[in-house]
């Protein structure tokens, strides 16, 4: 028995995706599809993702790299005649795909997003140098040296303009109440996982 155009996946999205209960309200006007800055690189623009969810195409949606193309520009949100929080739904879908291990392998934005989070979760603040070096070395050491060399002029310029601190590698910014901070994030994650059924 086919499951297409039934509510199963839509229901899952409503439960597990940030602002997912809005998906059913899309009226398929296509305004969002025409609003993404990286529009040409979306295999399925938001409008289509919403229809796919309603059509029950779980696998296709969650393995897609479309929602990883979202720059969080909020252009769609202010234009959508139905006022869907599209940006958050994109984030939510990306999060669900990531949590289920379905997001495409080597999705750079996904990697960067994780790195960013881990970076901030450690110290409470983002360490820009570690973050950027991490990004360059994400594909392994050799490629990392190449990436870093390619962007060397940028990095040096930033150091010269006192906008990148090489000393950050050994500490740098961070908050004081790290233990409270960590406990807070742990709790929040726990509540969220329970609510969204992530074991």
């Amino acid at each position: 028995m086919s499951e297409n155009y039934r509510n199963n996946f839509l229901k899952e999205v409503e439960e597990r995706v940030e602002e997912g209960h809005w998906v059913k309200m899309c009226m398929q006007c296509g305004v969002c599809a025409g609003s993404c800055p990286l529009g040409a690189h979306w295999a399925h623009p938001p409008q289509e993702l919403f229809m796919m969810i309603r059509a029950g195409k779980r696998e296709e949606v969650l393995t897609s790299d479309s929602m990883w193309m979202c720059t969080s520009c909020y252009n769609c949100v202010v234009r959508c005649p139905r006022k869907l929080p599209i940006t958050h739904i994109m984030h939510g879908l990306a999060n669900l795909a990531y949590r289920l291990g379905l997001s495409p392998k080597n999705q750079t934005t996904q990697k960067f997003a994780s790195m960013f989070w881990n970076n901030l979760a450690q110290t409470g603040r983002v360490n820009e140098l570690k973050l950027s070096l991490g990004m360059y070395f994400k594909d392994g050491f050799g490629q990392g040296i190449k990436n870093a060399m390619a962007m060397q002029s940028v990095g040096l310029g930033m150091v010269k303009a006192k906008r990148l601190n090489p000393m950050e590698l050994f500490g740098g910014h961070g908050i004081k109440d790290k233990s409270g901070f960590h406990a807070m994030l742990k709790k929040a994650r726990e509540i969220e996982d329970r609510r969204k059924n992530f074991a």
Binding site: N7, K24, M27, A55
Partner: protein, 756 residues
Amino acid sequence: MADMKVAAYICQGCGLGERLDTAALASVAKKEGKAALIKEHEFLCNADGIKMIRDDIANEAVTHVMIGACSRRAKTEAFGFTDVCVSRANLREGVIWSQPETEEARETTQEMAEDYIRMGCAEVKKMTLPEGDPAAVTERTLLVVGGGVSGMTAALEASKAGYKVVLVEKSGALGGWAAKLHKRTPGKSPYKDPQNTPVAEMAAAIEADANIKVYLNASTSKTSGAPGRFEIEISTESGSTTIEKVGAIVQATGFELYDANKLPELGYGKSANVVDQAGLEALAKAANGSPIKRPSDGGEVKTVVFVQCAGQRDDSGKHLPYCSGSCCLTSVKQAMYFKEANPDIDTVVIYTDLRMPGNGEDFYRSGQEKGVIFTKGKVSGVEAAGNQCKVSFQDLILNDQVAIDNADLVVLATGQVPNSGVDIDTKLKAEIAAAAGDNSLMEAYTASQQEGAVQPISMLNLTYRQGPDVPQLKYGFTDSHFICFPYETRRTGIYSAGPVRRPMDMVQAMEDATGAAMKAIQAIENAGLGRAAHPRSGDLSFPKVRLEGCTQCKRCTVECPFGAIDEDEKRFPLFNQARCRRCGTCMGACPVRVISFENYSIDTVGSQLKAVDVPDEFSEKPRILILACENDAYPALDMAAMNRNVYSAFVRVIPVRCLGSVNTIWINDALSSGYDGVMMMGCKHGDDYQCHFVKGSELANIRMSKIGDTLKNMSLEEERVSTFEVAITDIERVPQLINDYAALIQKIGMSPMKGF
């Protein structure tokens, strides 16, 4: 009536005094216009000017007044004398505002003004004061045909306004289509859930209303008379007949659903689980709140698919080409029946476009909130397989050919087919063609009558010569001027309301019925006063025919767009003035010119065009006659002038009630008096007509297509007579049309007919 005494008044206000030699105009009025009294005034429409005219009427026994000032469309109240005949020479919009304010233009501008004075004087002398209809009567009772929500609304509204109502319903109970519904789409805020239909409430109100008399199981077997004095024969199924006298009629005969049997490709008739919207309402009614069961085996319904536009918006020519505008709302409502019983039931609406009129958008949103899935797609087929159906469709967003193969129930959104009775137009068109010498349509029509095909049942059984029902426009919906007079049919005093007029939902039908009831009441009152309905509301004149001259050619009876003319026993035309809209189409049609109005006739126009001073062939001053429809073209000319859009000084404009009233004699007269060209400006005709008299401009076009022979006989170029479609908004275009035409005439050269 006392002896005619013409007074001419020439205004010097609004710049007329500066731009024109008004003394010269006065002398034209005296010498050529033969006015007995001539006065110039510096500001004719002020209290002093009006008093001057009033005094002359009272003290000098003036019977005819010619006002040389602004357009007849300006200062209508100030110059609205009802006890004398009034004509207006349009010196302001027609001359100084449409001519350049230059020294070189002075001469031609003055010539134009003088011509308009001549024309105004000539016209007014041919006018008499309308006497009105001394026999005008009215019956303050309304007939409502059809006891559905539209009909009941019309009845209740008319009763509230203090009028008696006779309500005729063909079935055994009031309620119509609405009575078949489990619930209705919401008619008031918050537009979220289906509501109970108003049927029971309205039927009770009607029962309790002493003003409303209801005939059930009944039909109007005969309708004769005219507004104010209709006589209705009502026959009931039991065989009894009654006569009711009414002043006006509201036809609210509703619609039938398009026959789903014509949609076997969508599974109808192949599985009991494929139903139309009426079928689903019946299931819902039977279930009455408990879950709707699968018709084939009483099994549980888990998936319902709604197929929108079934047999509608069809471009193959097989089904309805139009959108019924209400079935999308109905599908949302019906999907909610399922969601209300059990939110886990999957309800999928497959649409190509959703039409959600009025507050339907809120209702659509509510459907989405309740979890109804909407998917943009085109259904290619529905196949039955056991107790389920497979619905195949093209998903238009995902561009995918897909199927839902386990639908327990499929609902086809078929559309509304109006119950408008007999299409009288086929015959009418055949008759018009026959009158013009082409019998082919008539033969085809007669042949179709003989085939023994099932004839539609008439709704009104009018005894009118033109046929038993009101004319239809497209797809069987009753004809009405959808922009200006939406409820007005082409039978004065008969108003159509609800889905018989155009497809609509219940909210719109109720609004429609209220509007139609109000218009019907207006018609009742107008009939009592012997006055015309719009667009010439208040006009007391009506066509008078000199039967001695009539050749019984029947053109007037056939061409009258409003079915106002019957035939008497001797086969002479019999005018029913209360049905007449005063368009003058009959006057335009009559080959022997025996039809006229007191204030508008072959002579009032003919004498004007002859009064114009036509310069000789060598003057290089051509004359172009413009016959402009007073509803659109003439106002457009006035407005163009207000914007100071300049046009040729060689034109002379005469407003006409409708191009339909243009008699070819005027064209002949113009050409033989040496005019170099004739422009006729009227409203758009055709299926999306703008003509205020519906058929007038169309008929004029047919007539003018025959003018070619006349031109040939006179050895004139065919461009010398041209017809133009002009809308009231054409204020830029109209001067351009004139100037282009003037240039064309210049090119063809002056008419050789001058000076004969």
